[in-house]
């Protein structure tokens, strides 16, 4: 019976350390991302979105109603155990930041159940963790050069410019939607009232 050689012993040690490393990696929140989605919410409807989040990840949910009715929607965010982390009724715009206290599926829902006939267009931006780095080996220990640091800060500044632009675009879309509604209403009302007036007075 051959004795277990050094190769096998090394394999066993590597296996044990591999397990520990794997366990550690699972606990560390990995690079996340952002999901920006605009969707239409019909009247009396509720739409839910889910995301699996690791413990300790900082997440931000931001939403805005673009068109429809009084431009408001109900929003609700729940953690994997069903505990409500955020609940607001009839809100036009809000931003909520939280840190995931446990691993699991987080759920957030938008509800238009209070509205009888208006469809709403809702935009939301769900940011989970940090954006993935440009280079896979970004978590190297060596410091960035001055040029690289400058590039990183310009990148962050431009990201916030794009973010402001998005919010401006959404507000403008909201304003334009109201203006177009007003225009149609004025067209109908003036036409109808002129006719009525002419008919009743003669």
């Amino acid at each position: 019976m051959p004795r277990p050689g050094s190769a096998q012993r090394w394999a066993a040690v590597a296996g044990r350390w591999g397990c520990r490393l794997l366990a550690l990696l699972l606990l560390v929140p990995g690079p996340g991302g952002a999901s920006e989605i605009t969707f239409e919410l019909p009247d009396n409807a509720k739409q839910c979105f889910y995301e699996d989040i690791a413990q300790g990840t900082k997440c931000t949910l931001e939403f805005q109603v673009i068109t429809g009715g009084h431009y408001d929607v109900d929003c609700r965010l729940e953690d994997p155990d069903g505990k409500v982390l955020y609940k607001e009724m009839k809100k036009q715009y809000d931003s909520f930041t939280f840190t995931a206290s446990k691993n699991g599926t987080y759920k957030f829902c938008f509800s238009n159940e209070f509205s009888t006939f208006t469809h709403k267009t809702v935009y939301f931006d769900f940011q989970v963790g940090e954006d993935p780095p440009l280079f896979p080996s970004e978590n190297r220990v060596s410091a960035l050069t001055q040029m690289e640091s400058a590039c990183v800060s310009i990148h962050e500044a431009l990201k916030s410019v794009i973010d402001y632009q998005t919010h401006f675009r959404l507000r403008e879309a909201q304003g334009r939607s109201r203006a177009e509604d007003l225009n149609t209403r004025v067209a109908y009302c003036t036409g109808i009232s002129t006719h009525l007036f002419a008919v009743t007075s003669s």
Binding site: A7, F49, N183, A198
Partner: protein, 227 residues
């Protein structure tokens, strides 16, 4: 001899696969549930000449095991993209996992609609479908490691390229903003014109009707010999 070392190595391999599987599911991010014939539409308001890449993955609900199956071959999703004028830009059937790309040629609201096109209703039988969706617009759609490899860029050059792409995106968005503001201004001016003409017309009608009524009453009184 080979058998003694293979055991722990195989176990390690399995654990590596498990981690990989977890990472793969995590990379997809957001998901939602969709019914059998339900159509889900998403709107992307984008400037022109902007590329949009969408990735989706579907999982079907297994009623017996009460769990979502990791992948379902034979399940298709129909993707339809309409431009702001209502013209269909993309209308294709993809498999249970797919990736669609389109570039906008008109600025405005593009509508991306997804619905499952499964004819095998028995598969669904009142079940639901889990759809993982990821839509990247403009410079987010760029794959920088690929660009670096293709154009052989150094790290600094790649960062500069990323900044250039971001600035280009900002410029496009600002051009689109100018176009939208013009539309808004035209709408407001049209409303203003309509209200102006309506008030003038109402006043004129009022005056004319008043004059006509006075004349009619005068002739009526004269006929009745009251005046």
């Amino acid at each position: 001899m080979a058998g003694v070392g293979a055991g722990p190595l195989r176990a390690m391999g399995r654990q590596a696969l498990l981690l990989l599987a977890l990472c793969a599911t995590g990379a997809w991010g957001l998901y939602f549930h969709i019914g059998e014939t339900e159509k889900r539409c998403f709107i992307e308001e984008i400037p022109d000449e902007t590329m949009v890449i969408g990735n989706y993955r579907t999982q079907m609900w297994d009623k017996q095991k009460e769990v979502f199956l990791p992948s379902t071959p034979g399940l298709g999703m129909h993707v339809e993209v309409k431009d702001p004028d209502g013209k269909v830009v993309l209308s294709r059937q993809y498999g249970s996992e797919g990736r669609f790309t389109f570039t906008s040629h008109t600025p405005g609201d593009h509508q991306i609609c997804l619905h499952s096109n499964s004819t095998r209703m028995a598969l669904f039988a009142g079940g639901k479908l889990r759809v993982h969706l990821d839509i990247q617009v403009g410079e987010h759609a760029n794959n920088y490691p690929e660009i670096a490899a293709k154009d052989k860029l150094t790290e600094l050059q790649l960062r500069a390229r990323q900044l250039l792409d971001q600035v280009e995106q900002i410029q496009k968005e600002q051009d689109y903003q100018r176009y939208r503001e013009e539309r808004f201004r035209l709408t407001s001016e049209s409303t203003n014109q309509r209200v102006l003409w309506w008030s003038i017309a109402q006043t004129v009608i009022l005056i004319l009707t008043g004059i006509w009524q006075m004349r009619h009453l005068k002739s009526f009184f004269e006929a009745k010999k009251l005046v």
